[in-house]
Symmetry: C2
Subunit: 359 residues, 2 copies
């Protein structure tokens, strides 16, 4: 096997090695099928089983009640920003402006109706998520929209906010499957697959059935959620291979003990990095407020950009790749999704301590 | 290597074995990169090179002039039906209703403006494409839309129609790269990748630069072609693996001698099947008129559905898979895209002759 390095990329991101090994095995021909997983028809019994299996594993992982649809779309969270507003924004909706991704979601929604800013962290440079007490609704809205984890800033809701009967929509692209969810609190959760669910190429949508009757009529077929609920995501050719990989990842997560087990591991992994930051006497300066720290994207800065460049470069030379922060905010970002190995976290911890001791 | 059968599916479809072999090799780690092709960031130099290489190979194959953008989107041709109308249908557009896919394109366009039926084969059950003389425009339109190959009915334009200065939009999902194109005749060509370009998961769009200034303003970001031209298809995470595979397929096509060479091979492959149909004294009855026969999807019927079922079942037992016609029209369909091996065509020819001799 070719040597693998530690991939701290924010997405596409590291995948579990057993998943890669099985995908590799099936690449020339699925056992007993005689075709590559890249070549099978989406109307075949083989793919029907792959889709059903992926959905069943996700349902089990998320303890998803029967009244939620599991859909596979395309276009990433960015298309969902538009699609959810096209379907569900009749008059006005309340958005929590928690960071870069929430702001993008708001920009698209504004094309369809009034966007009320329920809370914004913009003036504080998005260092924290709001507390439940800061999220009181004072008027009727079509829905509330949150971003559970801001990938770029590295902040996350630590638990699921509660909006009672008001439909809650959540972009969970960068932390879905990283911890158990109180799923009943959500009307819809969506996530690009390329961070914590699989390779790039699909968008997972969990949609509560009661929302369908609220959707607008006359929508373009591919922008109407009912197209996907009514066809089981098979109105047209779905991203077959990505769905197949999502199924492998979901089964791997079940084998690891499910989301409670992953949550424990993720807390332990993230704590190792935050501990180094906290013990560095300010040499490493974390971006997130302590009570809003992301378990998936650990963001911090050094004294200046020159030092940050040197940090990234030296880490890279040691096989610690993808640590440069998002181009819009700079700094350092270590993305440590479910599949990121603890050995990679330990390697970064060692490097951070060593780097501080040397400069 | 696990044994492979002959896959006559209409898409997702057979891929070249050398492409599968290379994808398989890179599945655990790209040589010199230390990560799987499924794990690389779309902002990495590795992916930049993959994207540039795929575009360069396509440009070379299609002899694409510099004023055409090569874009990778998602959502298949079905989303393009909507997106092209959202962008370019200001008042009215002329559609050639050549079959099932053209009809779907028209349905979505009607949401945005007036759809003039320039020509329709519906009353003849879509057995042929119109001749150039049947395509005269009598009033101004925003664009003309054609479907170069109707996958379901198995009919195809044999050459590129000419509409002068009127922008010509073409859904080429099932025959792009099967023959050289007079590309300058087209303002935009689009195609799902899963038939003749690669695995499912991306939509290739070739868009002439002069069209961008004609697009409507205020569009949702992910539904605006300018988002993709301005970001080189990297506004958000693209379908990385599918684009990688498209690059491998394009390079394979160049190694085969390019599109003129593929066109010769495709004509030879299709001729073998049409010859059996023509020599069968009506046992096999081709759907397409002789002058509109598709080189990609060979459609025919037997005397009754019972015989067709038996044909499909016996073929399947011999490793000839995917021959059942589309569920909307029935009959038999042999999809023989670029990557479909001549040995598979020969095997089907033998089976067809044998089957006729026995029943």
């Amino acid at each position: 096997m070719t040597e693998r390095i530690f991939n701290f990329s924010a997405g596409p991101a590291v995948l579990p090695e057993p998943v890669l090994a099985q995908a590799q095995r099936d690449l020339m021909a699925l056992p007993g099928v005689g075709m590559s997983v890249l070549e099978i028809s989406h109307r075949s019994k083989t793919f029907e089983a792959i889709l059903a299996d992926a959905k069943q594993s996700l349902k089990q992982l998320l303890k998803l009640p029967d009244n939620y649809h599991i859909l596979f779309l395309q276009g990433g969270a960015s298309l969902q920003f538009s699609m959810l507003a096209l379907n569900f924004l009749h008059q006005n909706a309340a958005y929590v402006q928690s960071g870069s991704w929430a702001s993008k979601a708001m920009s698209e929604a504004k094309r369809e109706g009034q966007v009320d800013v329920l809370w914004s962290g913009k003036s504080d440079k998005y260092v924290r998520m709001p507390a439940q007490a800061e999220l009181a609704l004072h008027s009727a809205v079509d829905y509330v929209h949150i971003t559970s984890n801001e990938t770029i800033e590295g902040i996350a809701f630590q638990s699921d906010p509660d909006f009672g009967d008001v439909p809650l929509f959540c972009d969970a692209s960068s932390d879905i499957l990283s911890r158990p969810l109180e799923i009943e609190k959500y009307a819809m959760i969506y996530a690009g697959t390329q961070k914590n669910i699989g390779p790039a190429g699909a968008t997972l949508v969990l949609l509560r059935d009661d929302q369908l009757s609220r959707a607008k009529s006359g929508l373009h077929t591919m922008l109407d959620y009912r197209t996907f609920t009514e066809s089981d995501s098979l109105y047209n050719t779905p991203p077959v291979f990505t769905i197949y990989c999502v199924g492998l990842v979901a089964r791997w997560l079940l084998e690891q003990g499910g989301l409670e087990s992953m949550y424990q591991r993720n807390r332990a992994k993230a704590a190792k990095l935050y501990d180094v930051i906290d013990a560095s006497s300010g040499f490493y300066s974390g971006h997130a407020a302590a009570d809003s720290r992301s378990l998936m994207n650990v963001t911090f800065r050094l004294a200046n950009e020159e030092l940050e460049s040197r940090f990234v470069k030296e880490a890279q030379a040691l096989g610690l790749d993808g640590l440069k922060g998002h181009r819009s905010v700079g700094g350092i970002r270590a993305s440590i999704y479910n599949a990121f190995p603890e050995a990679g976290v330990d390697a970064l911890v060692s490097f951070m301590k060593d780097f501080q001791s040397r400069v």
